[in-house]
Symmetry: C2
Subunit: 342 residues, 2 copies
């Protein structure tokens, strides 16, 4: 899924180039490229599909040159994750009705790639053998209020996989006190938005919980994979309900499983989370860019292009971002206002 | 005098383009251009001379296109103000041994141009009729520790000009308590570095107080204004003592006068002084640049190029400068360290 617009990373991200298409970590690869890399060895290259906005086709093409052209699915408008997942699910079903699928956002980061691959492989083994909907749940290491949580029932593991558990409920982003309660227990996990299921399972789930959307894509089956696909999608896709897969399926489905994992995951939803995710100096500063000099500066994130020299003196707890013709300096504690600054 | 390198305005200024060649105020003119403008109507255009480093010839040419080419004097190396003034004094003497001269830095600012012109005209009237060395002293409005002071003897004014007084002494940049004492009295003035004298007076002063330097330029008299001038200067100028006119002449000469004036002068020696000099918003912020948005920001100076959008949230008492490939953020209270940050 590579259709998001990520306004919280302004001015680094923009609607023209949202964060999945940016080298947010300063590692030489964009988040989309890092996401694709994570699946190498798990999913054959020809089985990777990218669903994005029509406007981002060229960015995907450029950043994933090995991706078959036909594996880029273009949404004519943004309709949140449920229609996105429905589209690619029916598209894959057309090719292989017995396919096994991992759905992943393309703008998250994972620190421990091996642990990630292990988790995905184990979850896929499970979903291939069952009709289970599996979510990857991240073991929390702090009472994060920026994530949704999954409450697992640790007494009820699958007979096939002892480390996959029934989901009791999904929890919205909690208040701090609630998050603190969650992490005192050991059965609450961050909802990573990474799902694993067979194509049959998810298509059936759409039929049960989103019958209109299911009918729409069922009706498109004949043109999927043909020359008429894009035109039909452009016509019909806007009629889909604008709804997340969490609301459309997850919170309604009966049998959902969680695979608790620890692979250093972050949704990079804010400058603060990026600061936490990259290497910090002894003073808690995260610098992304080669030519950054800090003096008496603590707990800041400084993000710049490689060519720029940045000198910061005397800041504590700020984000400093410089990109092209925009410079932003903002307290990290006020970063939720950044989207209002454009 | 346009040969300074102004390292305190980094990254706005650089050795390649020091502050006199920059539009520091964001008014569309460089400090050199503003300085030249201040003398229009006081000094005929053909009588304006610019002494600068050879490296800055093209900048002067470009910024003062009406200046006669022969009126740009090029120093082959930096030797402070005394040799600079000696050179142009003998050069002018060659043309007109009865000339009357104003010496001015090119990187200062003056808010009240009319008051400046009046002061210069009156001081020149005086210096034309006498053999007086006259300095323009600025009436202080605060106990500034960044300027040298001139102690005047207000009981001893010239019989020709009642508002021109004998100088008792020159004072180095004072400590704050000392500066506070100075401004309690009314006979201490900031040393503006603007001098007025006849060519005879200054040449004689060099002969008395800097005899070696005087002999050097006396020896060059035959080639000044000829094709051989630059070559001879390139050969001899480096032999001059590296010394300011303040040390070389002012502090030694017997008969020095001060013309106390108030024309909104600043030497723009620091980002703080620039902040004081330009229009501030209600929160004490001085913005130079068109596209600057401030939120919860006070007492800052933000300087950027016209094309750059800058958003600053939550800063108090900082300088933020963005120029080409350099960004500087620094507490104004620490700005004396900026020269160490390059």
């Amino acid at each position: 899924m590579a259709g998001g617009v990520g306004s919280r990373f302004w001015p680094l991200s923009s609607e023209e180039r949202p964060k999945q298409f940016l080298d947010v970590l300063g590692c030489g690869k964009t988040l989309l490229q890092l996401t694709a890399d994570r699946f190498s060895g798990v999913v054959p290259a020809e089985n990777v599909w990218v669903v994005t906005s029509a406007a981002y086709h060229d960015l995907v093409r450029e950043q994933l040159p090995d991706l078959p052209e036909g594996n880029i699915l273009l949404e004519p408008c943004r309709r949140n994750t449920a229609p996105c997942i429905a589209y690619v699910s029916w598209r894959i079903k057309k090719i292989n009705p017995r396919a096994n699928i991992v759905v992943s956002p393309s703008d998250h980061v994972v620190a421990d790639i091996d642990a990630f691959k292990t988790a995905v492989a184990e979850a896929m083994e499970f979903s291939a053998e069952t009709d289970a909907i599996v979510t990857l749940g991240i073991r929390p290491d702090r009472p994060e209020t920026g994530y949704g949580y999954i409450e697992g029932d640790l007494s009820y593991s699958s007979s096939r996989k002892k480390n996959i558990f029934r989901v009791d409920s999904f929890k919205e982003k909690p208040a701090l006190e609630v998050a603190q309660e969650y992490i005192k227990q050991n059965n609450y996990f961050w909802n990573s938005g990474i799902f694993v299921w067979s194509v049959n399972t998810i298509v059936n789930a759409f039929r049960v919980y989103c019958p209109e959307m299911a009918r729409l894509f069922e009706g498109l089956m004949p043109v999927l994979g043909t020359e008429g696909e894009q035109e039909a999608i452009n016509r019909e896709f806007p009629n889909c309900e604008n709804i997340s897969v969490d609301y459309a399926i997850m919170e309604k489905a009966e049998e959902i499983f969680v695979y608790p994992a620890s692979f250093g995951w972050s949704d990079l939803g804010s400058w603060s989370s990026l600061r936490q995710q990259v290497k910090q100096d002894l003073h808690g500063n995260a610098c992304i860019g080669e030519n950054i000099d800090l003096y008496e500066t603590n707990n800041c994130i400084v993000h710049t292009t490689q060519e720029k020299k940045v000198v910061v003196q005397g800041l504590d707890g700020y984000v400093v971002v410089e990109k092209d013709d925009i410079l932003l300096i903002c307290k990290l504690s006020e970063e939720q206002r950044i989207r209002l600054f454009h």
